[in-house]
Symmetry: C2
Subunit: 181 residues, 2 copies
């Protein structure tokens, strides 16, 4: 936007791939997303993924970091936060972070990055509030399950529910016994 669009713009291609990667990885996960899919969605030749990110895994890591500044880490338990996250899930899919909370990755680099991301973005603030890592992680896992199921459609009532009703149910069940100080 700052400059006239050049006809051939590496930065633009890179950004398009990054965005497409975020969308597709969030929606389908790493394995189910092919580099050809990403390229098509970005309107860019898939070979450029290798050029700009080294590999599909490189793109995935870049997507992970790109979302970093996206949502400020906050408390998962507050109803407002639950609503916000669910809104985001409805709009963009579960997202790589929530998704990988429930599925180990083969690549150790990816696994380490995901663990760090999860910790920083979701577990740490919760653990600080709850004073208990285990309970914090259980909550994150449980919420991830809801987010994934929302998109999977395997649980019809959950998948089809009105978002407000879902927020109520989630807050009632998960947030209930927590520190409603």
């Amino acid at each position: 936007m700052t400059e006239a669009p050049r006809r051939r713009d590496a930065a633009a291609s890179r950004a398009a791939l990054l965005q497409a990667g975020q969308d597709l990885f969030a929606d389908r996960g790493f394995d189910a997303t092919t580099v050809r899919d990403v390229g098509e969605r970005a309107g860019v030749d898939p070979a450029l993924i290798a050029r700009y990110f080294g590999s599909k895994t490189g793109l995935y890591l870049a997507c992970l970091h790109a979302e970093k500044g996206d949502a400020v880490p906050d408390d998962l338990l507050t109803p407002g936060r639950v609503a916000e996250l669910l809104e985001r899930v409805d709009a963009r899919g579960a997202g790589p972070v929530l998704r990988t909370a429930l599925q180990a990755h083969d690549d150790p680099d990816v696994q380490a990055a995901v663990v760090a991301e999860l910790r920083a973005r979701l577990v740490a603030p919760l653990a600080a509030r709850l004073g208990d890592d285990l309970r914090a992680e259980v909550l994150v896992a449980a919420f991830s399950g809801v987010a994934l199921a929302r998109g999977a459609g395997t649980l019809p009532a959950l998948a089809g529910a009105d978002r407000d009703a879902l927020v109520d149910a989630v807050v009632g069940l998960l947030g209930g016994p927590g520190p409603q100080e």
Copy 2:
């Protein structure tokens, strides 16, 4: 065991494939399990999967049904049931049913079978007790998330926790506000 082992025994081969399929699908999910893996684990040629089950998908469906009579549908909320399910998860992996609660399947036949299985085994009894499909499904999704995360190792405290402590945390968070009538 009932008869002298015949050197060539179709029933035994079939059963071995079924068992191996249950183990591997439970542990890694459908996509991450190859027919060659199943064959190797069963000590049987993978081509026999096609012969006895038609296809990998057929084997998967057979595994789904084979687990049917395994655990009697019961209430997910009782601490005893939570402990029992987690024990099973620790021993055998999350299992196809919990796993697919969170991941849609391409094949419509499989998807339909999974939905039915989930409904019958987990959602229905809970919904009967809660009087609310949505809350029942949220609970199932949340518990599935915990079960998957337990195996994935992405949440270290959850993955490494003593099972008793985990049961406490899960029951405290998920079972807390429920119908402790």
